[in-house]
């Protein structure tokens, strides 16, 4: 399935835009997506951390991604 993914902060610069569409098998988990992103964009491996938010909430690695989910790459946060 095709999943649109949004990016913020340094993740935007790494993927070269504010969003991408990735092709992943149905039933893929967040951990699979993270692995795919790190393979396609090795710069993600250099970051202090990398998380995925699904529908505006931090997702567990084993969470399955479904069609229609809002998926966002969360590089290390630095608010305040």
């Amino acid at each position: 399935m095709k999943v649109p993914i949004k990016a913020f902060g340094i993740a935007k610069e790494i993927i070269g835009g504010s969003s991408i569409v990735v092709e992943i098998p149905a039933g893929s988990q967040v951990t699979d997506l993270l692995q795919l992103l790190k393979e396609q964009y090795p710069a993600f491996k250099e970051l202090a951390s990398l998380a995925i938010a699904v529908n505006a909430t931090y997702a567990d690695p084993e969470q399955e991604i479904s069609t229609g989910d809002e998926v966002v790459i969360i590089p290390p946060v630095a608010g305040g």
Binding site: F8, I10, A48, T57, P75, P76, V77, A78, G79, G80
Partner: protein, 139 residues
């Protein structure tokens, strides 16, 4: 506990944030004011750009207020965070916490800013004379 969570593109107001924490039954209000430092590792900071994943940032700040009130008896919690381009001295965040007694207000305010820095999806880029860097991105 009454909370007021805001993500704003306009300058933050101490008076507004403090007013959100006002409560006649509170004996103390603690305010944390986070400002843009004019230097990092000996380099002059020209400006700072903040961006947020807005719906989630609001939600995570809301969670912090709730979690703080679960740990301490609080009256009100206000968290105001700014986004966009800021200059040294500008206020990036204000947290105001009121409680019956000061110890709870101090502890909860510290918890709120420490947790905000760890969990809220807000990013900042520092601009120097000779380059720019996403803060905390790399180990």
């Amino acid at each position: 506990m009454v909370k007021d969570i805001q993500l704003l593109t306009s300058p933050l107001s101490l008076e507004t944030c403090q007013a959100q924490a006002d409560d006649p039954t509170a004996g103390g209000t603690v305010l944390f004011i986070g400002t843009v430092r004019n230097h990092t590792s000996g380099k002059t900071v020209l400006r700072l750009h903040f961006e947020a994943y807005e719906p989630m940032a609001i939600q995570e700040m809301d969670k912090i207020a709730v979690q703080a009130s679960e740990q301490w008896p609080l009256h009100r919690v206000a968290i105001h965070h700014r986004t966009g381009m800021l200059l040294p001295g500008d206020i990036a965040v204000i947290i105001a916490v009121s409680a019956a007694h000061r110890a709870e207000a101090f502890a909860a305010c510290q918890y709120a800013i420490d947790t905000l820095k760890q969990t809220v999806p807000i990013w900042k880029k520092e601009f120097f004379e000779d380059g720019e860097v996403w803060v905390a991105a790399h180990p």
